[in-house]
């Protein structure tokens, strides 16, 4: 059930004809094809990356993803910084969701150094991760509706996101970059009255989400654009390394919160958000319900977490902290899928090697390049946003 530009159900998957390498022979001088660059300066592109499209009429024939515009060489920079100096820069790897970086880095390091994190700190970490998920989804909803040309949802969602950022500011002191989850614990307890203000925010979010559901998810034009578009076959999930909502919308139950319960997720009560049609609409719906699940989880966290407690395990002098040699991989479920840090320590004060596994790495390059073939130019932006890609975590 895939729609093409003519909405005729003929099979266009064999068009254009591919050569032995699986690419089409594009003869630009035949004047049949047009090379189009979407990005890096293009409002329909998430972040700073670009797609090199070859189009025939309105139909995309070939696509190549170009990344690297945001490359800062984090993995190199971390090799020449001490562990504690790495901690403020890891959150800058993925801008919209810094907390998952902090958690993955901290937990990988704690595992190698053999540090037990106090219970209260674990609850607070769970809380920040869920708040981060909330604000990232809110930003994404604006992007998804904006890619299909509806600006109002983006305004509402950003208004809500600002509310969540306010709570972050109260808790951590930072709006975008929080630097809250130190190796060994967290930086601070909840401020007074935080729970009430958070509850107020959650209620506003729920209220607006029902509006957004009416205007966006029940909108005839949005449905027309998104239903049946951008189909991901469940068999691709392992082949392409798809994780997160993209996999769950295809009916594959993959959620690290359930599969490898980290922090306090084993004490929280929740069901996986699943979809089955695996098109843009289903992915959007899965994310919307996941957002509401986050709201619910935050409430559960507040109900179950202790009032007070130790928030930081004793650590050695952080300026000369030698972490025991070894290798490990720590992962967390971020809004886009599996986020992970692979850390190699050689027993010195500096990490030997840190590799960041961003879920967009597979989604934005291999998967997008495949999915975009035979779609309309108009759908490229919507398709790309529906995979929820963030370029900074591809190139770090």
């Amino acid at each position: 059930m895939r729609s093409n530009i003519l909405n005729i159900t003929e099979d266009r998957s064999q068009f254009p004809e591919k050569n032995a390498e699986g690419k089409i022979d594009v003869d630009l001088s035949s004047h049949k094809y047009l090379k189009l660059w979407q990005g890096p300066q293009h409002p329909g592109i998430t972040g700073n990356m670009s797609l090199e499209l070859t189009v025939l009429g309105d139909e995309v024939m070939d696509c190549e993803t170009h990344v690297g515009y945001l490359h800062r060489g984090f993995e190199k920079l971390m090799e020449r910084r001490k562990y504690i100096q790495c901690f403020p820069i890891v959150c800058r790897v993925a801008v919209p969701e810094p907390d998952f970086n902090e958690y993955c880095f901290a937990s990988a390091m704690e595992e190698l150094a053999g540090i037990e994190v106090p219970e209260m700190a674990e609850w607070l970490r769970t809380l920040t991760l869920e708040m981060s998920r909330l604000q990232s989804y809110l930003m994404w909803i604006g992007g998804q509706s904006g890619a299909f040309g509806s600006g109002i949802i983006g305004q509402w969602a950003n208004y809500l996101r600002d509310l969540v950022l306010d709570r972050f500011e109260e808790l951590t002191g930072g709006r975008i970059y929080h630097m809250y989850q130190l190796p060994g614990g967290v930086r601070g307890l909840l401020p007074d009255g935080f729970k009430d203000r958070m509850e107020e925010t959650l209620q506003t979010i729920e209220e607006f989400m029902s509006d957004i559901e009416k205007v966006m998810f029940n909108n005839a034009v949005f449905k027309k654009r998104s239903v049946g578009m951008g189909y991901i076959d469940p068999s691709w999930v392992d082949k392409f390394g798809i994780t997160g909502p993209n996999a769950r919308a295809a009916g594959v139950a993959k959620d690290i919160r359930k599969d490898y319960p980290y922090l306090k997720y084993d004490q929280l009560d929740f069901d996986l958000v699943m979809g089955k049609d695996s098109d843009i609409y289903t992915r959007a719906d899965v994310r919307r319900r996941d957002l509401l699940l986050s709201v619910d989880l935050i409430r559960q966290i507040f109900a179950k977490m202790p009032e007070k407690g130790e928030i930081k395990a004793p650590t050695p002098n952080v300026l000369h902290w030698k972490v025991a040699p070894g290798e490990t991989y720590s992962r967390a479920e971020c809004t886009r899928g599996e986020y992970g840090y692979y850390m190699v320590s050689d027993g010195t004060e500096y990490p030997r090697r840190i590799n960041v596994r961003g879920p967009s790495y597979t989604h934005a390059v291999a998967l997008l390049e495949k999915m975009i073939i035979n779609t309309n130019i108009a759908d490229v932006a919507g398709l790309m946003v529906s995979l929820h890609t963030y370029p900074p975590e591809i190139e770090r």
């Binding site: 530009i5 003519l6 909405n7 047009l34 090379k35 189009l36 293009h42 409002p43 329909g44 309105d58 509706s145 904006g146 890619a147 299909f148 040309g149 509806s150 600006g151 109002i152 983006g154 305004q155 509402w156 208004y159 205007v215 909108n219 005839a220 034009v221 949005f222 027309k224 654009r225 309309n376 130019i377 108009a378 759908d379 490229v380 932006a381």
Partner: protein
């Protein structure tokens, strides 16, 4: 109609008033859109500053002669549309150059600007301009069909091709407006009007997220200023046209303001709520819903 020097002055006066009205309308409508999005919105006089700013740009680059002509063509489309229909019914000053066959000419001017843009955008050489123009032309063709059929239905109903006479026939209470005497033609034309205004879901030509921003991509400085003038005049002229055809025209400026503002709101409401159609969906929609209604209108008039 004897043609004299004073008619040119009157025409210039009309253009001046409508230009200012269009700019203020543009500012207010953008403010309304912002309020829906919970924003404060731009200042109402922001469109004026933008135009001054664009004319104050010091450098301009050229892509060839046609590149200069395109904005002029576009502006001609807007002013032409305005000048060949009565703005205020019964007023000598604001009746403009309305003549016996002006309805046909006005329909032509709807198309004229897009053709001009096509020439200029091709000269600009930007691929998104070319895509935008091809989208624009296909969509204009699609909504011109129900529009023309609806207008023909009205022409057949009033047995005239003169807008002044059409307006005259609708005088005498709002029940004699075309809205009530010929509802099918009205519905068809008002659907086409959505396409003509180019707001969502029919903003496939500009579509910033897809082909930023279509035909005017390469236009800048003074050339963009001309386009902006047209962006103020053209919608206002279209509003006046639809008001004349369907809603009994206006006999005074306040009446004109109220009526055109309400007509504009129809497009603004739809545009605020809906995302954008893909161009093929938009074309198909025009060729199914409004066209069917327009054909019904024609058939009803005939029998």
């Amino acid at each position: 109609m004897d043609f004299g020097f004073k008619h040119i002055l009157y025409a210039l006066l009309t253009v001046f008033i409508v230009l200012n009205y269009g700019l203020i309308l543009q500012g207010i409508v953008r403010k309304i859109g912002a309020r829906v999005g919970r924003r404060y919105g731009i200042r109402w006089y922001q469109p004026y500053i933008d135009i001054i700013k664009n004319y104050a740009k010091r450098s301009t680059i050229t892509h060839g002669v046609m590149f200069y002509i395109a904005p002029v063509f576009r502006l001609t489309g807007g002013i032409g549309l305005l000048l060949f229909m009565p703005v205020i019914f019964g007023s000598e000053i604001f009746s403009n150059f309305s003549f016996a066959g002006d309805l046909v000419l006005v329909l032509y001017f709807q198309f004229f600007g897009v053709l001009g843009m096509a020439l200029g955008a091709a000269e600009g050489g930007h691929p998104y301009s070319a895509i935008g123009v091809s989208r624009g032309l296909s969509q204009v063709t699609a909504f011109e069909l129900p529009l023309t059929l609806g207008v023909l239905a009205i022409a057949m109903q009033y047995q005239t091709l003169n807008i002044t006479e059409i307006v005259a026939a609708q005088q005498g209470g709002f029940l004699s407006w075309t809205l009530f005497t010929n509802p099918f033609a009205t519905i068809a034309i008002m659907f086409s009007f959505l396409g003509a205004m180019g707001r969502s879901p029919f903003d496939v030509v500009l579509a910033p997220q897809e082909i930023p921003i279509g035909p005017p991509t390469e236009f800048h400085s003074g050339l963009l200023g001309v386009l902006q003038l047209n962006r103020a005049i053209f919608p206002a002229a279209k509003l006046i046209l639809f008001m004349n055809l369907l809603f009994g025209g206006a006999t005074s400026w306040p009446e004109l303001v109220v009526k055109t503002f309400l007509i504009y709101m129809w497009s603004v409401f739809v545009g605020t709520v809906f995302p954008r159609f893909r161009v093929d969906q938009s074309v198909r929609w025009f060729l199914v819903v409004p066209l069917t209604i327009a054909i019904i209108a024609i058939i009803l008039i005939r029998f």
